[in-house]
Symmetry: D2
């Protein structure tokens, strides 16, 4: 176990509200919002698990976990939350070594979760129709030090999928039903498709299209997460709750229905 | 891509209700409930993705995914569902190559999900106080062909943890609060603890104990999953719903609070 | 306070599982499922609040509440549950003395809840296109002794509403959007409309139609009820849960939008 | 049907965001937040259901419904929402003509819902230990023109209940378990008790105490309400959602268990 920060480390600083800042020790000076300029080299030799003071604020130093990487993502639009990413990964049986395609790339949040799941042997191929989205997401992916597991392509998945025998395909696009035919062709036999959509009409069109092709185990669900607050006064569900993220539709390719 | 069943394969048979039967082609004859005796050798040469008939029933043949393995588990007591396993894996940042301890082993369902997540480089160490549970779970784990990633120990986690620098520890025992001290000692710095408990009083005692030790990011939540039924009549949430599985409490080891 | 059963009473028998049987003491012999024939006259003089034995089973005797009446309803099709009836009553501001129209009558369950809410000064007018439904519901309504507050009509609400200046209109029909125009005409200014539909497409069509007319405060929601089980082992949400009943869409008539 | 505002009316003004202002035409000038001073007399002769302009803002004029009265309540602390009030009313079988006790009075929100349900023949008796709460609530109740149905008492329900043979008792106090004995004595046979508590430990203590007395049908649940947003883009559950209000525990008095 590494005890102290060394010169090539990727570390995470966690403040008392559990806000996180991933820092590459090899990089130049970095700015931490509300704290100021930080010279990464000054962190060399600090002990992991202890708090240090930077600009009057206390931060724990740790080696970054996947959660830290996900929580460090800068968002441009609404992202797929890690709770939904978790369901995508387990329901699509995504594992180390697999080749998984996603479209679109968004802010790279799902890409990071998927890349962590297929590492070290696999790859995420990420299509998007907008280059600025790809560039923005790549910044987040590089910050998470996962770029070696990600291949980005400026392509419209509803037009073409170049890959074959993919383990899984994840759709986070406004018109997933238009990518179903291409997805079936690009999946391996037994491979999984997942479509993430906030609107019910998107689910309906996608399910209808899936049923026209050789897919089995077509299922749609949503996940609702509720925090339980344990305090000295007593325990209760949290008043704060996100009422909806998106519907997840899953299906699996077979040859013959 | 493998197109046909070969003699050393592990395959899954899926019936029209999506019930699954994992079959090891190298094994002796196997019984499929409600179908009869099956000679695995007779499946050699069948095409993956196509349906075959066994005893008047149709089955798709596929290479088994993690989901297939999880759905094939024979249950003895209530198991941790794959939806909760998904949250455990992502919130504990479990990845390929890690060493993760779980206690108890239950029917081996969570063990299978965790083993798939740490494979190929990592290991799951699974403690249980009852040997019959370990043996029962191991049958399920072997059926899933994941035994090389699992080390079982007949041990009480509230008494002792032999391992050090663990990436994560998952507690599914009736008295998780009694394992917190040992868990803190056995975790690596920045390592995650998760406790799964159906009862609120278990959560309260566990959180209270966690707060006495150097843990941060202590959080409890539950996941509610709701299916959306898309039919030709229209779309609606499913009437069938599981009202509760268990609460998940997460925490992360630091040195200094 | 009445202490003993008298000869003109309507009473309720409640067994140890809280199953309920409303009995009219003036009626002829009655059959209680699984218990046998009961002569209501034999109950005269029994003390309210105490248990009596009938055919080896224990029953509490009470004067029936609205809940007892609702739980005593014999169902033919799916009924509107009392939880949804509660929301209809409060969101439509239904009070004693009002005139409220419902269509269709179903098994009379919602009718009983509404009749209790408008009694003693008001009335429920209930339209249905099938006479057998009206007769079936009326049996339930009479059993609840609320027939003096209910007027049934063999009419199609999508064709015509005879009444004017109604306080509220409740739609529980497959095609509520076809009744919106008539409903607007029949409501008083400021009167409420509620439509109960299990399917999302029904909600969409109804909301679209409501927006074409002078309605304000158009809102759709669903109610999810979760039981909390308190036992000597501890407290937890119930595993049993109804995932969906129906969506409730509310709106209110104005003259000018 | 009244068509125009007359001099003794109680009316409601509803702005385009459906914010509501109840106005007594007989009262002196009134202030509407963000609009300015309003002379109620100037509203005489206006047509119900139409919009009028006051200080550059448009308002519909209507006769106030129970919902309008509830939405007009000024809050001091957290109130019992109308969705929970609805469940209290239906599960306690509260009807016109009944005598119902509540403690404490809070901001008078539940009092208004209960008073509307027992009117015109019944009464709500409301206990509170703080006179300033009673006075604050009475302002809201008078604004809703329901004071003739409400009797307030500066009393501690855990010490004494003066009334007998009550139809229902509703507890919204921090220590409901201490009022159970008094409540049993004050209820009629078959009468209902409801306790509203945000914390699980409150529920546990209350249920434990209820079980020591002659109560049946002891049940605890919570209501979760989710809005469905229907827009031209499509339909989805609302992202905004209140994760928790409180648990409702119900029970019913019998003589003998």
């Amino acid at each position: 176990m590494k005890k102290y920060v060394e010169k090539n480390d990727l570390i995470v600083l966690i403040d008392s509200n559990f806000k996180k800042y991933i820092v590459d020790i090899t990089s130049k000076t970095d700015k931490i919002k509300g704290v100021g300029v930080l010279d990464p080299i000054s962190l060399i030799g600090k002990e992991f698990g202890k708090q240090i003071e930077i600009g009057n604020k206390q931060f724990w130093i740790l080696l970054p976990s996947v959660q830290d990487k996900l929580q460090n993502v800068h968002r441009r639009a609404q992202i797929i939350l890690s709770r939904d990413a978790a369901h995508i990964i387990i329901n699509c049986s995504i594992e180390s070594g697999q080749y998984v395609l996603e479209a679109g790339i968004g802010s790279g949040s799902l890409t990071i979760a998927l890349a962590s799941a297929v590492a070290p042997g696999g790859k995420i191929i990420s299509y998007d129709v907008r280059n600025d989205f790809i560039e923005y997401a790549l910044k987040n992916i590089k910050k998470a030090s996962l770029e070696q597991y990600v291949i980005t392509k400026l392509k419209d998945i509803t037009k073409e999928i170049e890959e074959k025998d993919l383990d899984a395909i994840i759709l986070d696009i406004p018109n997933p039903w238009e990518a179903i035919e291409n997805a079936w062709n690009a999946l391996k036999i037994g491979g999984y498709l997942c479509s993430y959509s906030p609107l019910i009409s998107q689910v309906e069109k996608t399910v209808k299209e899936l049923r026209k092709h050789n897919f089995i185990e077509i299922k749609t669900f949503e996940n609702i997460q509720r925090e339980l607050v344990v305090s000295s006064h007593g325990t209760r569900p949290s008043f704060d709750m996100l009422g909806h993220t998106g519907y997840l539709t899953f299906a699996r390719k077979i040859l013959q229905s």
